[in-house]
Amino acid sequence: MEQKDNQDQWPLWEVFTQKKSGSPHEHAGSVHAPDAEMALLNARDVYSRRNETINIWVIPSEEIVASTPEDVGPFFDPANDKVYRHPQFYEVPRTVKKKTT
């Protein structure tokens, strides 16, 4: 998709909302806004209308650094066959189990 001419659109911001204290912020979508304060207000209006939200993060979309589809192989494939990295791979000896209960 072609880059739109920036002059007829406000900057784009990504919105992350938090449902309750301690929960991770989840990506909710994006908003256009001229600056940070308006981005926060727009995000509140657009994304917290119907669900419980206690906190919002907004960040200019261009600040997000993301891995690319080409990275999938080198980044993520090696982890798929290294089963020893999972805690479940290890059997805990019975005596140790007793001590931890």
């Binding site: 908003v31 256009h32 806004a33 304060e37 308006m38 207000l41 727009n42 209006d45 657009v46 209308r49």
Partner: protein
Amino acid sequence: MNSSQALFEYLQRLADDRLVLGHRISEWCGHGPILEEDIALSNIALDLIGHASSLLEYAGHVEGKNRDADRLAYWRGVREYRNLKMVELPNGDFGFTMARIYLFSTYSRLLYEQLVHSTDGTLRGLSEKALKEVRYHLRHSRNWMLRLGDGTDESHRRIQQSIDDLWMYTGEFFESDEVNDMLSATGIVPDMRDLHKHWEDEVSDTLQQATLSHPDNDQHMATGGRNGIHTEHLGYLLGEMQSLTRMYPEAKW
């Protein structure tokens, strides 16, 4: 007039301000300059209509003639509506709409901050809920005042014009008559004079930050809304707002 009648009068004033302003703002739905503002304006409109609904419901209860919120909203005519003239004016451009929301919300927030101490429990409860929403309306509209005022030449010119045009309607915010006197004597409503000073301070501060000039306070101020004397605009507004009910009086949602 006894105190129940005074309270009924007063509740209509509060409710009608919010119902008429809410209706005006709702006219932006689908026509906002940008998606996010369309949603923001619709949210503000819904909040205001919600406040109006609660206030009218309570008003009907105080009147004691079995009129509920719908009955009061859809079956009173222009001369029975008690809203400020400012809120019935047509929306104008985006800046005019925002300037109006700003001036009204500054007044509304100050008023609710007093009403949460009202000796009337129901009014207190309604005000606590409304105050949170009005704080948000104020934040949103004030942001726009600053950005439009301290913006481009065109936005500055337009918002200055809007403030100049709206100013003659701001006097009505602080009018006080025997209804106010009767209710403030028993602590149900606050004294409007204190509110006026705070409102003036806040608005002056915002105008200054927005690089806008303060209109002349020594000018003719519109009046009459509290007594059912309205501009030519309210008739058309109610004609549209009440059209469905009047066409199908027995209709049920």
